[in-house]
Symmetry: C2
Subunit: 372 residues, 2 copies
């Protein structure tokens, strides 16, 4: 319980050199002869010297710490991403400060403020507001390296890594259509931020507002859903779109039960993320439907339990850990070179087939059908 922390000055005194010299060998920068180096290291070892990173950071202007702000660290989606980030951070000998925003702008602002106060060398953010995000623009303006993950912010030109949500939803729903499904319900958050509405997105043909990349992934997945219908020449029905509006399994379950119990229930469900998937599973259990006989299911994001359900649940699998790793690497490179052109990356998820999709023989026969 000794309070005496040994400093460079102590080491220098013991080794009979100046603090500057001792500093040079201990911080290894600048010249130092072999003999002096030995002497200083010996003294440091004997005194149990440990450099004070605070003082070093103060003068060097870098903390070797990066910050992360995500929606909710306990969701499997973010937890894996963070694991990926953490691995890269450890490999680079960097600390990792983590905060959650609970998908609320004010908490996200607080988080960013905390990270800036801690003088992180850079931050990885999953922004909850993709249109305004004044605090992120300010942080970027202030020159702090930033990488966006899963979502992008309109007009904010920083590195980012996301998924091809539109394309993979399009392909996944396409698989459902090719399996003969004609009434496919979409269960998605589709929160009303940024002025996007279901009407707006459905109004053009083919559907696709130009700024779709700056909206929540759930909107992109809706677009993919609509495009798949367009591809197949089938008119989508707006009563099959469950707009959950909040990021909640409970609400998703409620909505899903409603649609499953309606007079004209869907033959398949497509969920836009893991939270929705859990809600839908609860709904399926509540109405007592069997998969895939009564209802087919395709979920965005592959969760552990989907593999050992009987039958297994088809999923669009996102490389979550890899996303985290790449985000961290992008950030490291950005820190090393703040001026280069920002990079915008998109990963491609894949459809994992497990048997939760029933093949329906349509009158005109199955055209296409999944690979398996």
């Amino acid at each position: 319980m000794r309070k005496a922390t040994t400093t460079i000055a102590d080491v220098a005194r013991k080794a009979n050199v100046s603090t500057a010299t001792a500093g040079r060998v201990l911080g290894n920068y600048g010249y130092a002869s072999e003999t002096v180096r030995k002497k200083v290291q010996k003294a440091a070892r004997e005194l149990g010297y440990r450099p004070n990173h605070l003082a070093r950071s103060l003068i060097r202007g870098e903390t070797r710490t990066i910050g992360v702000v995500v929606g909710d660290i306990q969701s499997p989606f973010y937890a894996r991403i963070i694991r990926g980030i953490s691995d890269v951070a450890r490999a680079s000998d960097m600390g990792l400060i983590i905060t959650n925003s609970d998908e609320a702008t004010d908490l996200e602002e607080q988080s960013v403020e905390l990270l800036m106060d801690k003088k992180v060398d850079g931050m990885i953010v999953s922004p909850c507001d993709t249109i305004n995000a004044a605090h992120l623009r300010a942080a970027h303006e202030a020159g702090i390296p930033m990488v966006l993950i899963d979502r992008r912010v309109k007009g904010l030109e920083v590195d980012s890594i996301s998924l091809d949500s539109v394309g993979s939803a399009r392909a996944g729903v396409g698989d459902l259509l090719r399996a003969g499904h004609r009434r496919i319900a979409l269960v998605a958050e589709l929160a009303g931020t940024g002025g996007m509405t279901i009407e707006r997105i459905m109004s053009s043909s083919p559907p696709g507002p130009p700024d779709i990349n700056y909206h929540y992934p759930s909107w992109q997945r809706l677009l993919g859903y609509l495009l798949a219908h367009h591809d197949a020449g089938i008119a989508p029905q707006s009563d099959l779109i469950c707009q959950v509006k909040s990021y909640s399994s409970k609400v998703a379950a409620k909505k899903a039960v409603e649609i499953l119990r309606s007079d004209t229930p869907p033959t398949a469900l497509f969920t836009a993320d893991g939270v929705m998937s859990a809600g839908v599973m609860a709904a399926v259990k509540e109405v007592g439907a069997r998969i895939p006989d009564d209802i087919s299911l395709l979920c965005f994001d592959d969760l552990d339990w989907m593999e050992f359900m009987v039958p297994g649940i088809d999923a669009i699998s996102q490389p979550r850990k890899q996303m985290g790793q790449m985000a961290a690497r992008l950030l490291m490179e950005r820190i090393a070179d703040p001026t280069s052109e920002p990079r915008v990356l998109d990963l491609v998820p894949r459809h994992v087939e497990r048997g939760s999709i029933r093949q329906i023989l349509t009158t005109e026969g199955v055209n296409g059908g999944p690979d398996a």
Copy 2:
């Protein structure tokens, strides 16, 4: 992209006061008259002054940051715990540095070292070595506030929060026995650290080595399993104990398949944690057994999917988030008062019944039976 960071000196100059005075009002410590206070605050606002926490930390000797080291942040168990910690940290306006140990001593040592380098005000650790843990003893010796979570270290007298693993496993397995099960398999990690062996733990009657609290929770759950048998006057059979030895679903699944396919399969399975539970579910699927008709199931740790499986899976539910919150609060209090007696807390999990346990009518009838 301006590099000019405005300091207390700038504010002081603009407000025509000394840096000391400006420091007093901006850091609010010491005297400052109302007029001066107003002047300084105005100047600070106009210059957009933001205090440099690095410099403050250097001199004050506190960083307002706490560190956490857990096994793996992407496991639902730790993810929830961290969420709980994070909530309390945010409320206390503290930063949170997170690292994973992957249950390996050397990585844990690295993590602790990182945290000490970052000069955290305290740390919460889920130790992977409950016997030696020299680095934890050293950190404690060095006076840094520490709270252990989920596991304790022998002879290390610090605050800790765990679960009553022995008691709740004993109760849970007791429920299985009361339901008439006589061949109950335990699937648990039971890694061979610290010299504990199945033989040793089974050798006394009633079972229970005195230092059980300083072993992994899986050993404690084994003890609960044995005690439940002892309570019921039934001799446990060592061939029903699956020692997975690593923290891996895959291996757990393999072991579980073996025992399910043996000549004398169990009628019920008891898993010691979430990882084992996932493995067991995969095994049940692989052998094509139906729950609860062919095999009953009781899992330690309640995971999301257990609720919407058909039937639901009985679980011993651990208050994970609450554990995190309490750990963080313990740490805050320890930081505030480093000298008081360490507190050793145990939370009590509860058995959530969902229908994965079949009632077996024994020849002598069901004696007792669950509450429901």
